[in-house]
């Protein structure tokens, strides 16, 4: 803040120097943060949802490990895992988790151009191109995984 900045309540020049020397009682008011601060703005809510999404990312990791373990155990445990996965509450959980993971991934890739400042032939690569490249790489990786899972290999 500029040194020239002044508080409009400051003492007028004609006031006695003795008055100016006496400091005002300083008892600043410290506002408390509301527990529901994250409902105040759409961006705050989106931020909190993105933070929450990490729980669902962790869930997908656990789910993947359970799947790998079931495959490792043999045909029967694998069938039981599939039956368990088909239960309504697991389906609902996984659908909610998918929505959060998509939110996580999309916001993550949208963030990429902020973090990566690339230059080609002296010119800055446009932010949209950086984001597009990430989404394209995501699409290709997903396509390869889908091809493997759906029996391409």
């Amino acid at each position: 803040m500029s040194e020239l900045a002044r508080e409009s309540s400051m003492q007028r020049p004609h006031e006695a120097p003795t008055q100016r020397a006496v400091p005002a009682q300083v008892r600043p008011y410290r506002p408390r943060v509301s527990r529901f601060w994250w409902l105040r703005r759409r961006s705050y809510l989106l931020f909190v949802l993105r933070e929450l999404s990490s729980v669902f990312v962790a869930w997908f990791v656990v789910y993947l490990l359970l799947l790998v373990d079931a495959v490792y155990q043999g045909p029967d445990p694998y069938r039981r895992f599939l039956e368990w996965s088909g239960r309504p509450w697991v389906l609902v959980l996984n659908m909610v988790a998918l929505a959060f993971v998509l939110l996580h991934a999309i916001t993550w890739f949208n963030l990429a151009p902020k973090a990566m400042v690339l230059r080609m032939q002296g010119r800055r690569v446009p932010a949209r191109l950086v984001a597009a490249a990430h989404f394209a790489a995501w699409g290709v990786a997903s396509g390869v995984v889908a091809w493997i899972v759906l029996g391409g290999l």
């Binding site: 803040m1 900045a5 410290r30 506002p31 943060v33 963030l111 400042v117």
Partner: protein
Amino acid sequence: MPDTITLQVARYRPDTDAAPTMQEYVVPLRQEWAVLDGLNYIKDQLDGTLSFRWSCRMGICGSCGMTVDGDPALTCGTFLADYAPGPVRVEPLANFPVIRDLVVGIDDFMRKLPKVKPWLVREDEPGVADVEFLQTPPQLDEYQQYSMCINCMLCYAACPVYAIEPDFLGPAAIALAQRYNLDSRDQGAHQRMDVLATAEGVWACTYVGECTSACPKGVDPAGAIQRYKLTAATRTLRSFLPRGER
């Protein structure tokens, strides 16, 4: 357009009040009047006890930041006509202790700012008195947007991380650190790293992005922070490489 508009102004008198209260003032509504003009009208014509900071009236000094209708804003660049027919709520900047009425304490920011050494650090020169540091336009372009910061602290008022974690270095301090880190004349990036690449530095930021939205000068503190995260992470990974390959 009506002739007048009501300003609901937060008042806090530390000697008598336990918490801020709102007081209403009716001020003339003119096309060219900013919220700051309305506050100065109150100060000059209606209530001389109202306290607020201001200086340049042209978005340069960064003194008149307040919360206008819930959003952090420079009151010299926020026009009353945009809020017609009103009322307009004017409160002190959020996330700072209120000293009086619309005046907030900025000691925390003033303590944090020098930690990032927001000046040109040179290690190979004893002084700059008789040395010219030439710079090309692309080199200037690297950091110029960050040099537009006027320390108005609107970004701190917009940042929920700073509200919850007061130890967070904050958007402006990090953006200003990047202003010098990206300057071709500076050699102090590794010195700033000790402050920036910490839990209270860039890693406290979880990218809400409101600092960038709030900035009245087009600085992108959120971008500066994310960019530095990548720098810090890359440096950490490189430190595991054999010395010759870093």
